[in-house]
Symmetry: C2
Subunit: 294 residues, 2 copies
C-alpha cells in the first residue's frame, strides 16, 4: 500500500512513524507546503519521498490529510477529484461539520472517511512527531454510513493497528462535544497564559512559581495558532455557548471571593471536584467519598 500524508507536522509525522513501525505501508509519500518541513521530514526518515500534492494523491492507495482544518476544506475536493477510484482518503481534523459539508456532494464522497484522532501534544512540526502518540487513545469517525465499506474498513484497520479505539458520531455531535471539552480547554489555557504574561511582569517569578500547578494548566497555551485559529472559527457556534458559560462561572466565583463567601466558594469547588470521578471513568454509583485531610 502506498500512503500519502498531507501535512508533516505532529499529527501527520506521528502517523508516518506509527505506520512504518507496523509495516503497514510499502511506501510513504509526504507532502508539505512548507519546504523546510518537507525537507526535515525526508531527512529524519519520516517519509520515503516528497511529492507535490496532486502527484502524491494520484499515486496513493490511502491519503491521510493532516493539515489545519481551513486548509483541509480548501484541498479536500481537489484531492478527491484526483485519487484513483479505489483509493481512500481520510482527514484528521478537529472540526467535522465544515469539512464533511465541503465534500457532501462530491461524486467520490464514498472514498472519504471523516476522522478525528484524539491525540496531540503542545508541540508541532515534523520534529515533534512521536511513535506512541496514538497508542491507547481514541479516534472518532463521523458519518460512517457515507463512506464505502472498504474505505471505512481500511481506516478502521489503520486505527486499530496503531492502538486506537474507535467511537462513531455525526459531525454535529462531534463539534459540539469537542467545543465543550477540548476547544474550551484550549481557550482557557491560551488566555491564562496571556493574562499571566500581562500582569506578572517578572518572568523569573513565573518560571519559579510554575511548579504550583501553573505549568500544567497553561500547557495548551503553547499550541500552534495556525492549527487552532481555523478550529475556533469553524466551531464558533458551539464554542461561544461554552465560553459564555465559562465566563459566567468565573464571574460567580469572582463575586464569592469579593464577598468572602467561603460557603459558596467551597460549594463551587466541591461541585467541580466531581470531574475526578468522571476522568477516572467511574459511574456515580461506584463513587467513593474521598477523605479530606482535615
Amino acid at each position: 500500500m502506498i500512503v500519502a500524508i498531507i501535512g508533516l507536522g505532529l499529527i501527520g509525522g506521528s502517523f508516518a512513524i506509527s505506520i512504518r513501525k507496523r509495516g503497514l505501508a510499502g511506501r510513504i509519500i509526504g507532502v508539505d507546503r512548507d519546504e523546510k518541513n518537507a525537507e526535515t521530514a525526508l531527512n529524519i526518515g519520516l517519509v520515503d519521498d516528497i511529492f507535490d500534492l496532486y502527484d502524491a494523491v494520484t499515486a496513493a492507495d490511502l491519503v491521510i490529510v493532516a493539515v489545519p482544518v481551513d486548509q483541509t476544506k480548501v484541498i479536500l475536493t481537489g484531492v478527491l477529484d484526483r485519487i484513483s477510484n479505489m483509493a481512500t482518503v481520510m482527514d484528521t481534523g478537529s472540526t467535522k461539520q465544515g469539512i464533511c459539508a465541503s465534500v457532501s456532494d462530491h461524486n467520490k464522497r464514498k472514498r472519504f472517511v471523516a476522522t478525528h484522532p484524539i491525540a496531540g501534544t503542545e508541540n508541532f512540526g515534523p520534529l515533534a512527531a512521536i511513535s506512541n502518540l496514538y497508542n491507547g487513545k481514541l479516534s472518532i469517525i463521523c458519518d460512517r454510513e457515507k463512506s464505502a465499506d472498504d474505505a471505512l474498513e481500511i481506516v478502521q484497520q489503520l486505527y486499530k493497528s496503531i492502538g486506537m479505539n474507535i467511537v462513531y458520531m455525526n459531525p454535529e455531535e462531534h463539534d459540539l462535544h469537542s467545543a465543550y471539552v477540548s476547544h474550551l480547554s484550549h481557550i482557557s489555557s491560551f488566555m491564562l497564559g496571556l493574562t499571566v504574561l500581562e500582569i506578572e511582569k517578572n518572568e523569573k517569578t513565573i518560571f519559579e512559581l510554575a511548579g504550583s500547578g501553573f505549568a500544567s494548566t497553561v500547557r495548551l497555551a503553547k499550541s500552534s495558532p495556525e492549527m487552532w485559529t481555523p478550529i475556533f472559527e469553524q466551531n464558533s457556534h458551539y464554542l461561544l455557548n461554552a465560553l459564555d458559560t465559562y465566563i459566567d462561572k468565573l464571574k460567580i466565583f469572582r463575586e464569592a471571593i469579593e464577598k468572602k463567601d467561603t460557603v459558596k466558594l467551597t460549594s463551587l469547588m466541591r461541585q467541580a471536584n466531581d470531574i475526578r470521578r468522571i476522568l477516572d471513568g467511574k459511574k456515580l454509583s461506584e463513587e467513593k467519598l474521598i477523605t479530606n485531610r482535615d
Copy 2:
C-alpha cells in the same frame, strides 16, 4: 531532633516521608484533628506517634505546620506560646501576609520561619503523601530577617536536605506573585471543570475526549476545597485583580471568535505562546523561533 508535624495530609505527610528517608529526625510526632487521618498516618508509618496539638508542640524541636491557611492563623499563636525557647516553628501555607501578621507581635516571633514549599499534586490526605514531592522544587521563605539565625538555619537546612531550592520574598510579594501565577490557575481549572460538568451532559463523552488536553487543563479542579477556600479568601485582593484581567482576556477572545476575526485570534494565541519560552527558563535573547508545520 524531635519533629512535630501538624496536619498529616499531602504536604505534612510528604515532609514526614522525606525527613525519615534522610534520617533528619530521631522521632516524628504527628497531629491531625481528623482522627481517621491520624490513624492512617500512624498505620502506614508516616509518624511514630500521634499526640494532641499542644503535647506535640511542647515535645518538639521543630514544628512543621501543614494545615489549611485559615487553621494556621488560628493555631500559630498557641503553638508559639507553648514551644520551648529553642524550638523552631515553620509553616507551609500558600498565603503569607495574614499568617505573618497573626504572629508579628508575638514574643517568640523569632522562633517562627514563614515558608511556602511550591510543591503539590491534586491529591490529598495521608495516603497521597509521596517521597519525592519536594525534590528539585522551590521553597519560598518570607521575612527571613524576622527569624532568629539558628531557626532560619534549621529550616534552610531541612529544605536543602530534601532537595529544595530557596527563594526569599516579603509576604506581600509572595501573595501577589502567588495570586497571579498559582491561585489564578486553580480558579481557571476549577471553573473549567464546573463549566464542562454543566454543559456536557454526557459523562462518557467527557471521559472519551479527556485526552484532547482537557485532562491536564482541568487537573487542578480535583484539588481540596478545604485547602483552597481560605487561600482565596486570604488572598482576595490580588486575586480579584488577576481574575478581572483573565475574564477581560476571555471576553476579547470571545469577541474575536464571534466576529470570526482570525487575524486577532492568531495574534492573541501567538502572544500567549511566549509562555513556552518562559517555562523553558529562556531569556528573550535566547529565544529560538519555533518552526510551524504549515
